[in-house]
């Protein structure tokens, strides 16, 4: 057993960490305040090669795995989780297309995603239904030339940036009177008539990532825009979400590491009661608790990513990493705010942003409750949902 990164992985990690520290961290606070998607910065992340990591060389990718990609996402999230999520959603959506899309779809859309020139989204959630896909209403009906989509999606990341290329959209394709709803995944290019990104939401965190509702009103698409087989869309979307779980775990891990970095630095620098804050045992306790959580989350996340690359990751491995890393992200942010005292409550303080940003991580991409149901089910308990 070997817990060390190889030379190449260390070099990748160090390069991204340097970039994140020098180029992302200094602007993260103003991005949080302004709340606009940083197109230029995202493109620089693309120039660095981050978006290319897990894609096949055919599309301009580097042919690396989930593990290397998770390392990259962790380092970006250590500087700005909001940017990391824009990165990871585009990578996870692009990977879904790479895995299930047609040659023509990939040819047309993947190179821009892999190069980081454009960004893409995956749209499952609706206003009235999230994990419970049975409650979905958005529907594609047959037309003479193909399909017409009607309905709406909610809380979609990367849905309406100026460089959004497409959204993979899950819609019902079974008849209205069918006994069971079946779904299909459509590639909807930005600018398709009838496809309108709504206004950006006001959010608790992730301010600079682009989150919008997507509206579909008689949005016409040909058969060539179906991804995978008609009727199998839910399966495809779930496969995409499964890989995204490791990436979301890595996003929270990077944020938790940043909580540790800031807390240690502040404990050394801030003077109280005649010496640095870190001399106080109660502060030492909080720092140690953050540290233990970061280490444990890193082990679970790296293990899940590594298993995924071996083709051996079970649903339980992915759910465990996602559940634990995102939960401790919030715990570490909470502790870090406490270490920082009044300053930690100020929006300008990085740990305040971490506290807000990570809150969505235990909700999105399958809430902590859903992850625990998956774990219990994988352990053989009678779980129904």
């Amino acid at each position: 057993m070997d817990f060390l990164l190889n030379d190449e992985q260390r070099k990748l990690q160090q390069t991204i960490a340097d970039f994140a520290r020098r180029e992302i961290a200094p602007v993260a606070e103003s991005l949080d305040r302004d709340g606009t998607f940083p197109t230029a910065l995202f493109r620089r992340v693309g120039d660095l090669g981050v978006m290319a990591l897990p894609f096949a060389e055919e599309w301009g990718g580097l042919g690396l795995g989930t593990f290397d990609t998770a390392l990259a996402i962790e380092e970006i999230a250590r500087a700005d989780q909001s940017l990391a999520v824009s990165v990871m959603v585009s990578i996870a959506s692009g990977l879904t297309l790479q895995r299930f899309g047609t040659a023509a779809q990939k040819q047309q859309f993947l190179p821009d995603i892999v190069a980081g020139r454009k960004i893409c989204a995956i749209a499952g959630t609706e206003p009235d239904a999230g994990s419970d896909t049975a409650g979905f209403k958005t529907r594609a009906t047959r037309t003479n030339a193909g399909w017409a989509i009607n309905g709406q999606k909610a809380y979609i990341t990367n849905g309406g940036t100026e460089i959004t290329s497409f959204a993979l959209v899950l819609v019902i394709t079974s008849d209205r009177d069918a006994e069971r709803k079946t779904f299909s995944l459509f590639l909807v290019p930005a600018g398709t008539p009838g496809f309108t990104p709504g206004e950006r939401y006001r959010k608790m965190g992730w301010h600079s990532s682009d989150t919008r509702p997507l509206y579909f009103a008689d949005c016409r698409l040909g058969d060539e825009m179906v991804v995978g087989e008609v009727g199998h869309g839910r399966h495809l979307l779930h496969k995409g979400y499964q890989q995204a779980r490791v990436f979301l775990a890595a996003s929270s891990l990077g944020l938790a590491q940043a909580c540790l970095d800031h807390s240690v630095a502040y404990a050394k620098e801030r003077q109280a009661f005649g010496g640095p804050l870190g001399r106080l045992q109660m502060v030492q306790d909080m720092v140690a608790r953050i540290s233990v959580r970061v280490d444990a989350a890193r082990l679970l996340t790296y293990k899940a990513a590594w298993l995924a690359d071996q083709g051996r990751a079970t649903l339980k491995d992915l759910a465990t990493a996602k559940y634990y890393a995102t939960e401790i992200g919030s715990e570490c942010a909470d502790l870090a705010v406490q270490v920082h005292g009044g300053w930690g409550f100020m929006d300008d303080c990085p740990v305040s942003r971490y506290y807000r940003d990570n809150r969505i991580c235990t909700i999105g991409d399958g809430s902590s409750q859903i992850q625990k149901l998956i774990i219990a089910r994988e352990l053989g308990l009678d779980v129904r949902f």
Binding site: L12, I16, L62
Partner: protein
């Protein structure tokens, strides 16, 4: 035109250095090491000259322990074509480095060598000048702008009180100042490609150079801790203290 760029492995500029307890130097065990920032500027300038079509090949050279190969890899990932590692565990001082570089220059016959003006570890600011003297080449130090036209390199130098422009006849030695350029990040694809670029390893003896130190470090100590200040009640008291205690006026 071939250009040779020496790159030094130093303690990363973000690391807060600590003096070793025996006072023989600073602690480097378990400390993050990186390419000397002035050398990064040198590599970047060489790459820009190559992109302009002035330079045809960039050779990155590092001297020191085996781990210096990592520093060469960084230069290769940025865009250098091949590397040479002069491997030795001996402590290398500027004169030894200059002699080793002279030997490499005689072997490789570059028309230009771009060096960092100094390394951020010992701040010697000597190697480039010594090398130019040993080779008998022209030198332009502290460059903030370089243009090459045929056999002439025009170098804008940052000197006390302003900018000085010199025209050098090649072959030449140029050392870089901070404002020459902003080095690029090695992209991830280029990092992977760099693994396939060749690095040759030679030893000082192969180059006929004895790198033994000529200078002896007596002692390395931490800078003195800053003393607490004192409050004065009036300007008169301040002036008196400056005169009698600080003795600065």
């Amino acid at each position: 035109m071939k250009v040779l760029v020496p790159v030094k492995r130093v303690v990363d500029y973000n690391v807060k250095v600590r003096v070793r307890s025996d006072g023989t130097g600073v602690e480097t065990a378990g400390v993050k090491m990186s390419m000397n920032p002035f050398d990064e500027i040198a590599v970047e300038e060489a790459i820009r000259l190559k992109e302009k079509g002035v330079v045809s090949e960039i050779i990155a050279v590092s001297l020191g322990v085996a781990a210096c190969a990592e520093t060469i890899r960084t230069a290769l990932a940025m865009g250098a074509d091949r590397g040479i590692l002069v491997e030795t565990d001996a402590e290398l001082q500027p004169l030894a480095v200059a002699k080793l570089l002279r030997a490499l220059a005689e072997r490789e016959q570059p028309r230009l060598m771009i060096l960092g003006k100094q390394a951020i570890d010992d701040d010697m600011n000597a190697t480039g000048q010594m090398l130019a003297a040993l080779l008998g080449w022209s030198q332009g130090t502290f460059a903030s702008k370089i243009t090459i036209d045929g056999d002439t390199a025009t170098v804008t130098r940052e000197v006390d009180g302003g900018l000085e422009t010199v025209a050098l006849t090649m072959p030449a030695i140029i050392t870089t100042d901070l404002r020459l350029n902003e080095p690029r990040y090695a992209s991830l694809p280029n990092i992977m490609k760099a693994r396939k670029k060749p690095i040759e390893t030679v030893r000082p003896a192969d180059l006929g150079v004895d790198p033994a130190p000529r200078l002896k470090t007596l002692r390395v100590v931490e800078p003195p801790k800053r003393q607490a200040g004192a409050k004065v009640a009036s300007v008169a008291e301040l002036v008196a203290k400056l005169r009698t205690e600080a003795k600065v006026i």
